[in-house]
């Protein structure tokens, strides 16, 4: 068996989700090749070659792949993928964007967001916002799969010495063009990779009040997340949303502040090791999943917590 893992990157740096995806590939077993498709990605390819357990790195360096537009990268991946038993990508917005297109080009079903490898053709994945876990088996010639990062411990980023090989694929399909990007700036750890996450919900009242969460997060070295209610109310940008339709996190410690705990939010954080809930409504559903619950006014409890840690 041979497995092709599609690297997550921004042309400059290798994305951490790649390491979790390689871990899933190791569970499947077989030679692992990593594809880096982008523009001026020499540095990313070098980083990919150092990943423990990677046998080969394929580099497709082409202006057409610069922003990983699916119209351009999907034909490349589908063509390369024919030579592999499995094609894996991280379940990031990028992976979710191009991989189903690859699967359809190969005329196979895709398996989304696996959290466990049972065997080379059988996998577990959550459905219904994580309220059920399905075990699915694939008979496809090429198994096309996205991997939920929080389901697999990252492999070491150093220690490998894979050969780097250039590959080429179709040129710009001419169907789409990148116009621009607006990235949120943050010095805090990335939400999906943070060991501690502090999240705020509608109970925060307004965007200004998130300051007390940022300040607590900085003391803990934590990332700051939010519920959909807080995002919809305009308190914080949408890339902070944790939940079924936002980011899936599984940190060591998740602190939910002023979050009631709707099914859709729980789907994004209930695999956290320890969950703390601070809410003044003692009937809030969040207390049913919290290891430690504190019924209190968050505007008193959060500053007090910051002082105490």
């Amino acid at each position: 068996m041979a497995i092709l893992v599609i690297a997550e990157h921004n042309n400059g740096a290798l994305g951490a989700a790649t390491l979790n995806t390689v871990a899933a590939a190791q569970k499947i077993g077989g030679d692992i090749a990593v594809l880096v498709a982008g523009q001026n990605v020499g540095g990313v390819a070098e980083a990919a070659a150092k990943i423990a357990g990677v046998a080969k790195v394929l580099v497709a360096d082409n202006a057409a792949y610069a922003h990983q537009l699916p119209e351009n990268v999907a034909p490349l991946i589908a063509e390369l993928g024919k030579g592999y038993s499995h094609v894996l990508a991280p379940a990031t917005t990028n992976g979710k964007n191009f991989l189903p297109r690859v699967a359809a080009l190969l005329d196979v079903d895709q398996i989304s967001e696996i959290i466990e490898v049972v065997s080379a053709d059988t996998f577990k994945r959550p459905i219904y916002a994580g309220n059920a876990i399905a075990t699915v088996q694939s008979s496809a010639a090429v198994k096309v799969i996205t991997v939920r990062g929080t389901g697999f411990d990252a492999v070491a980023a150093e220690g490998g010495s894979a050969a780097v090989e250039a590959v080429s694929g179709p040129a710009d399909a001419g169907k789409s063009a990148f116009v621009g990007e607006e990235l949120a700036k943050s010095d805090r750890p990335e939400l999906t990779a943070a060991k501690i996450v502090v999240s705020g919900g509608r109970g925060m009242g307004n965007g200004d009040n998130f300051k007390i969460l940022y300040s607590l997060a900085d003391k803990l070295g934590a990332a700051v997340g939010a519920s959909r209610a807080a995002v919809d109310a305009g308190f914080v940008p949408n890339d902070m949303q944790v939940g079924q339709t936002g980011k899936i996190v599984a940190p060591q410690l998740y602190v939910a502040v002023g979050i009631s705990g709707a099914i859709q939010h729980l789907a994004g954080m209930k695999d956290s090791k320890v969950i703390v809930a601070i809410n003044k409504d003692e009937e809030a559903p969040i207390f049913q999943v919290a290891d430690y619950g504190l019924v209190a006014d968050l505007f008193e409890a959060v500053p007090e917590l910051e002082k105490a840690v």
């Binding site: 699916p70 119209e71 917005t93 990028n94 979710k96 964007n97 991989l99 189903p100 297109r101 359809a104 196979v108 079903d109 895709q110 398996i111 989304s112 459905i127 219904y128 916002a129 309220n131 059920a132 876990i133 399905a134 075990t135 699915v136 088996q137 694939s138 496809a140 169907k175 789409s176 063009a177 990148f178 116009v179 621009g180 607006e182 990235l183 501690i196 919809d232 949408n238 890339d239 079924q244 339709t245 980011k247 060591q252 410690l253 859709q264 209930k270 090791k273 320890v274 969950i275 703390v276 290891d291 430690y292 619950g293 504190l294 019924v295 209190a296 007090e304 917590l305 105490a308 840690v309």
Partner: protein
């Protein structure tokens, strides 16, 4: 231009689903069904395009059981002009649905196809992308803003670090994210009018497509339950527990 919108009948998002005792699936008997929330956003966007004079006709399509007629009627009440149901009682995977939608796209020749980014039952997030591959059209997934300009559509997409804008040649496929718009409610007069709008029923056989799948579900289980937690009385007690009992800070 003509806009095609795909909608799915799913378990209502407020329902806490239960896994069947024999682990064959989720118990959907006597459970409230609704239009998938992302599909509602797709219908709303199409209706807004029509109100702006960009869209001339909205065709809404569903691939699924006969019960999905209810969701198609809802879409008609919201402003769609006519509906098509590709009726199948089999459990269909995203690729099979994408193939059925491809057949409808071939028939209807829309300039824009709008779908939700994912259905809240299977949580696949695949159908729009697969339809784009099968038709060869460009795709704008996770859209939070859609602007048609001449023979192109500019789509602002929600990506992991923020927002990205792409320009797609028409015809194109767009999948909706939550913040694209706030769907309206159907008014009673419109619900009555929707009953008279045309609803065509087709079958996968009639469209000449196969619904066979390369993936089968072996079993469905409830997720591991979390052990019950405790309520602490003060911040001091919370910090003490986190430091000494859970050892996470």
């Amino acid at each position: 231009m003509k806009v095609l919108v795909a909608v799915k009948r799913v378990v209502d998002y407020n329902v806490k689903v239960r896994v069947k005792a024999d682990n064959s699936g989720v118990d959907l008997a006597n459970v409230k069904m609704s239009m998938n929330p992302f599909c509602e956003i797709a219908v709303e966007e199409a209706v807004r395009l029509k109100e702006k004079g960009v869209a001339s006709e909205i065709v809404v399509v569903s691939v699924g059981p006969s019960g999905a007629q209810e969701q198609l009627r809802t879409a008609l009440a919201l402003g769609a002009d006519r509906a098509v149901l590709v009726e199948s009682n089999d459990e269909l995977n995203s690729l099979a649905v994408a193939k059925a939608l491809k057949a409808i796209v071939d028939k209807e020749q829309p300039q824009l196809v709008i779908l939700g980014k994912q259905a809240i039952d299977s949580d696949n997030n695949q159908t729009g992308q697969m339809l784009a591959a099968l038709t060869g059209y460009a795709q704008g997934t996770f859209a939070s803003k859609v602007e048609v300009a001449g023979d192109k559509v500019n789509v602002t997409r929600e990506i992991d670090g923020g927002l990205q804008t792409v320009a797609l040649n028409l015809p194109a496929i767009v999948t909706t994210d939550l913040r694209l718009n706030e769907p309206r409610y159907a008014s009673l007069p419109n619900i009555m009018k929707a009953k008279k709008k045309p609803l065509e029923i087709l079958t996968p056989d009639a469209l000449g497509i196969s619904t066979a799948s390369t993936v089968k579900t072996l079993k469905v289980e409830a997720p591991a339950a979390r052990s019950a937690g405790i309520k602490v009385k003060s911040v001091a007690e919370l910090v003490e527990k986190l430091k000494n009992e859970a050892k996470v800070i």
